[in-house]
Amino acid sequence: MALTDAIVEMEDISIEFPGVKALQHVDFRLFPGEIHTLMGENGAGKSTLIKALTGVYKIDGGSIAVAGEPRMFTGTADAQSAGISTVYQEVNLCDNLTVGENVMLGHEIRGAFGINWRKTNEAAREALVGLGLGHLDPKQPLSSISLALQQLVAISRAMVAKSKVLILDEPTSSLDANEVEGLFGVMRRLRDQGVAILFVSHFLDQVYAISDRMTVLRNGEFVGEYLTADLDRTQLISKMIGKDFGTLAALGSNRGRVAAPDATPFYSATDLGRKGSIDPVDIEVHAGEVVGLAGLLGSGRTELGRLIYGADRPDTGEVRIGGVSAEVHSPIAGLSKKIAFSTENRRDEGIIGDLTVRENLILAVQAERGWARPLSRREQKELCDKYLVELNVRPADPERPIKNLSGGNQQKVLLGRWLATNPELIVLDEPTRGIDIGAKAEIQEAIAALAESGMSVVFISSELEEVVRLSERIVVLKDHRKIGELVNGPDVTAETIVDLIATEGSAA
């Protein structure tokens, strides 16, 4: 593969957002007829790099060349007209239209009487057949086919646009094993036709099964470009996680510490469930215990967290708190039972961007006290002083609008918001998502310390390593139901959980 052959060449790319260096001096090359995986932890800059290439984000430094020519795209449409198509994790099609209409949107074949639907549908069928989807009728509504097929329809769109570069951003996260195989078949077929494919996935197995080369990013920085054959998994993981691996591993000291089996758990629920969101689940959390909820995106882990707190109303199940039967049907009820919930959706459900750090921090305490008894300035200041220092929020300025803080520091303020209510059980949904590794370590330390001090923690994360590192027990979820529960120990690793999810899938 000579350099001159590269269809996409990105050199020295840097992108900065307020307070965050999203990408620093990243190089990336993509060749025709290869499947190239972009690897990195959450927040490493994979999506940012893709958005830089397709022109969604403006680059602050560096150069992009496509087919040898310097290019700077103004957006997805512009990139697409230059032959770069993107298929996202969330299928971006119109489900009010038919399969054929979706495939051909913007490329309909026109004649003297406007769009010639017969020819257009034929072209759609051809594109579908080209990907081995001959069984799909272009005239059937998109909403009538599965998500996996919709993903493939999105890819056929790219083929109709005669794309030379296909970007697949986490296309497999909602597919089952067979569907993934189908997708891989299509990808191989396209690769053999000379299409350059950029693939992003969290699943190491998939990456090793499909990719020819990989580029590793860490914390917005370029780590290296490798042939898949030259890099084994351990090497890859250490490159993704970097030197901080050691410090994080040290946190696992208290794992495997199981509460006395006869003690009454602080929180226990039997058959806790809600129609359409999660099947009935049994779960117990003892005082001073971290229970991890592990599962893929959409497995029901967030839904379970919300039920425990009362953010959603459960339809079934019995909840006992401290051994006493209780009803937790609303956030207010959750708060009064000393349960707190920190959302995974930091920007929309967590922070209120235009309010200051102080105002964000006191929100939950104030809500619990009610509007009639406002916190005095002095009380507010005490709370701020305490948690800004304890959680090491930087800058420690309570009067700064929270939107100007980095993601990690926003997350610390949110954690502080809930800790200020003195909860006995805190549900943390993805508290470390999309933040830099330093803040990640600090938050993990804070969680371990909380458990040490006797608080019960339900910890939800899509990073299995993190769940294994922090939890004493791990509840594994899949397809909106609980498929197992692991007591953490030296022989439990992320792979154990992956295996459990995988085998459960093939058995079902």
Partner: protein
């Protein structure tokens, strides 16, 4: 009569129809109807057609003289302007937006038109100007929505107040179009079929304009990329953007279409009535929206047909006829019945949407 009822669900909604958009041939009607069956999106429009037929049957049985040429002729002649307005709003609502300014645009446009015509301006220039006034308001709404990120409701509400205010500044008394004005020729009655006594099938140029507008609109929506983009935006604007469709241009265009058609509706209305006033068209935007919704277009966008909106207008028009014929229902109650019908249709749409989610 039958052609009128079949069209909304057959002709343009069938992509493989080779004979063009407005010509709904009857030969394969049965096969088409069966093909439409599983498609939930046509259900509200079909329901509108069914209600329309039921109203005709009820009217004929209860009061008589409904299924006859002059009733049908009057239905179209009296509602030509509303058909044109509803077509414009169909475009906007299909993208998930709304245009509240069209009623007020009619007021300003028709006032300007009548005053200029009375001042002796060339009638063609006057008509073009009246239409362009509508386009200008459409451009303004579109720019506000698209480039200043104002919500369609607010942007077009602002345009509504602006247009109404300008109309009031021009005149607060009814302006009468001269009896000899060439503009009036647009409402000349042309007898197509000479029936017994006064029972003639009559059209006016205004009706022909409305029919032409409907035909062109159906063509644009179903046979051009612009039309497909309108549906795609209504389905999911973010998806349409990511698919690389010209979302910005298209959203701007739908407001221009709606404004322009409001200008054209002003021409049609003025030529028929011969009077323009600053309070002309109060609430017509809501009548048009009601017609579009009754015709089966989803208020959230993405699904619906222009011909459905025409049926919606006819349902509202026929309802007025029936209430007049009945005599025992006070005319003041008309809006209550309109509201009731609207509610039924919105509930029907909710049902369709929730059914779709489940599949």
């Amino acid at each position: 009569m039958s052609a009128l009822i079949e069209r909304p669900t057959s002709g343009p909604s069938d992509p493989s129809d080779p004979s063009g958009p407005a010509g709904g041939p009857h030969r394969t009607l049965l096969s088409r109807l069966s093909r439409l069956k599983p498609n939930l999106e046509t259900l509200p429009t079909l329901a509108a057609v069914v209600i329309f037929i039921a109203m005709i049957v009820y009217g004929e049985v209860a009061y008589g003289r409904i299924v006859q040429f002059n009733t049908i002729s009057n239905l179209f002649i009296n509602n030509a302007y509303l058909i044109i307005l509803a077509v414009g709003l169909t475009f906007v609502i299909l993208t998930g937006g709304v245009d509240l300014s069209v009623g007020a645009v009619i007021a300003i446009s028709s006032l300007v038109g009548v005053m200029l015509a009375n001042a002796g301006w060339n009638p063609i220039v006057v008509v073009v100007l009246m239409i362009l006034i509508g386009s200008a308001f459409g451009v303004a709404s579109g720019v506000l929505v698209q480039y200043f990120n104002v919500q369609p409701f607010i942007a077009t509400l602002a345009m509504m107040f602006l247009a109404r205010g300008l109309a009031s500044m021009l005149s607060t008394t009814p302006e009468r179009l001269g009896d000899d004005s060439p503009l009036r020729s647009l409402s000349t009655e042309i007898t197509v079929i000479n029936g017994t006594k006064i029972n003639d099938l009559v059209v006016t140029p205004n009706v022909l304009i409305a029919v032409l507008v409907v035909a062109v609109a159906a063509f644009v929506l179903h046979r051009t990329r612009l039309g497909r983009t309108v549906y795609a935006i209504g389905g999911s604007e973010s998806s349409a953007l990511l698919m690389g469709l010209p979302v910005v241009r298209t959203k701007l265009t739908v407001y221009v279409i709606s404004g322009t058609l409001a200008g054209l509706a002003a021409v049609v209305y003025t030529s028929k009535l011969g009077i323009a006033q600053n309070i002309t068209g109060v609430g017509w935007e809501l009548d048009a929206i009601a017609a579009v919704i009754i015709g089966g277009t989803l208020l959230t966008g993405g699904a619906g047909f222009v011909l459905g909106s025409v049926v919606g207008v006819l349902v509202l028009g026929l309802m007025n006829v029936l209430i007049t014929r009945d005599g025992s229902i006070p005319p003041e109650a008309t809006t209550i019945i309109t509201g009731g019908i609207l509610l039924v249709f919105v509930l029907l749409q909710r049902l369709v949407v929730s059914r779709k989610r489940k599949t």
